[in-house]
């Protein structure tokens, strides 16, 4: 299968930010801090920003600011599909300090979620943060047309990998060989890494919810469970047979 690149248009992202700002107004928030990788990617269109940024500050008025290490700033600036201020933050301490300067004036500053240790650090730095994870969740729940296309492509690619796996499921083949064959189809079909560890379990371990493939060879008449996923433009499929 040819999993073509799904285009994210600048228009999509502008629309997202507009809809999001309407939510912020309803919640009486002056700004919002995204700390979850998937949310940062959702608003910027940059996978590298999702992986490497420390945070994305979205004020009601004006441009958003992306905080990212020097290492990642060039890639994020090239990938971002929307206008952004990019500020380098060398460490969590540096991030807190710079964020305080830019966001300390906001009385209502919402955020999504992050490790407790990071939120404690930001609060100690003087930021008045209030958790409003639902603001982004609500927005992301409603899918745009191209997002639905990406999900469909991910499902089709996962189906192809399952079909390949089922060719390998026979006595004498190891669980690892089945996993490797399925993952090869996912990779060459353009899956962005794998959304989760491919599970292949035969015999009694087929009843386990989290059974990583082993060297064990499949025996005649045994049940075999395969659970795998594909990722296209950030959207995942998860199929089990």
């Amino acid at each position: 299968m040819e999993a073509e690149k799904t285009p994210m248009s600048l228009k999509n992202l502008d629309g997202r930010l507009k809809r999001f700002k309407r939510q912020l107004e309803k919640l009486r928030l002056e700004a919002y801090l995204c700390l979850q990788p998937a949310n940062i990617k959702y608003f910027t269109g940059s996978p590298a920003a999702g992986e490497l940024a420390q945070g994305l500050l979205i004020p009601l008025e004006g441009e958003a600011t992306l905080y990212i290490s020097r290492m990642g700033s060039l890639q994020a600036s090239k990938e971002a599909k929307i206008g952004l201020k990019i500020r380098e933050a060398a460490s969590p301490e540096d991030f807190s300090r710079k964020l305080k300067t830019e966001a300390g004036r906001f009385k209502g500053l919402g955020f999504d979620d992050a490790p407790y240790s990071l939120i404690s650090r930001l609060k100690k730095a003087g930021l008045r943060l209030a958790q409003h994870a639902e603001a982004v969740v609500k927005l992301r729940q409603v899918k745009e047309a191209w997002e639905i296309k990406a999900i469909r492509r991910a499902v089709r690619l996962a189906e192809e990998a399952l079909a390949e796996a089922s060719k390998y499921v026979k006595p004498g083949v190891s669980e690892l060989e089945v996993a490797a064959a399925a993952e090869r189809v996912l990779r060459l079909g353009g899956s962005e890494f794998y959304p989760f560890s491919t599970l292949v379990a035969s015999g009694f371990r087929a009843s386990y919810p989290h059974a990583e493939p082993t060297r064990k060879k499949i025996r005649d008449g045994e049940p075999v469970v395969v659970d795998l996923g594909a990722k296209v433009s950030g959207y995942c499929a998860d199929l089990t047979r």
Copy 2:
């Protein structure tokens, strides 16, 4: 390469818990709540507990309690290499409630780290939690002999995958094909999934810190960066060339 199963002996885990309880005494904590998957796996020896449990409560006196969904409890009980009480927790609400009953009496209850949303929920349920991430970090920094062996095996396996990748790096081969070949060696060599997304980047993208492989074919004279990892008994290697 044959990445044999590295045995975790019950003795190892008993020693870990003893050393950890000495740290809790120094910190004047009556109990400790592990919420980080890697820490739960470290103390129980169960990968499924690491992936599926909601938390592990370690009191100074008596057995530890693992909170896990009904789906994961059988697998965790079979895998755990140490004596544990296992309590089923159906949801985060159920987890907070049961934890309050068992741990509400502890005045000093340390914890490692978790999403802010979960810690807020547990605090609202009435638990007097204090973050002491350093307690587990210090313990885990000192590696046991078998842990060093596992790390060495992970490095050797990653080296084999890099050697395979370099056979594929030539004009006309796509980045995805290089990644698929390297991952096949990792999988069949027994790597437990992959510690992170295999990066293969050619041309100008070789300068990017986070460049997922694409359909782009390698051209003559281009720089190519490969960054990959292997995982053996939970211990990871990360090599870049």
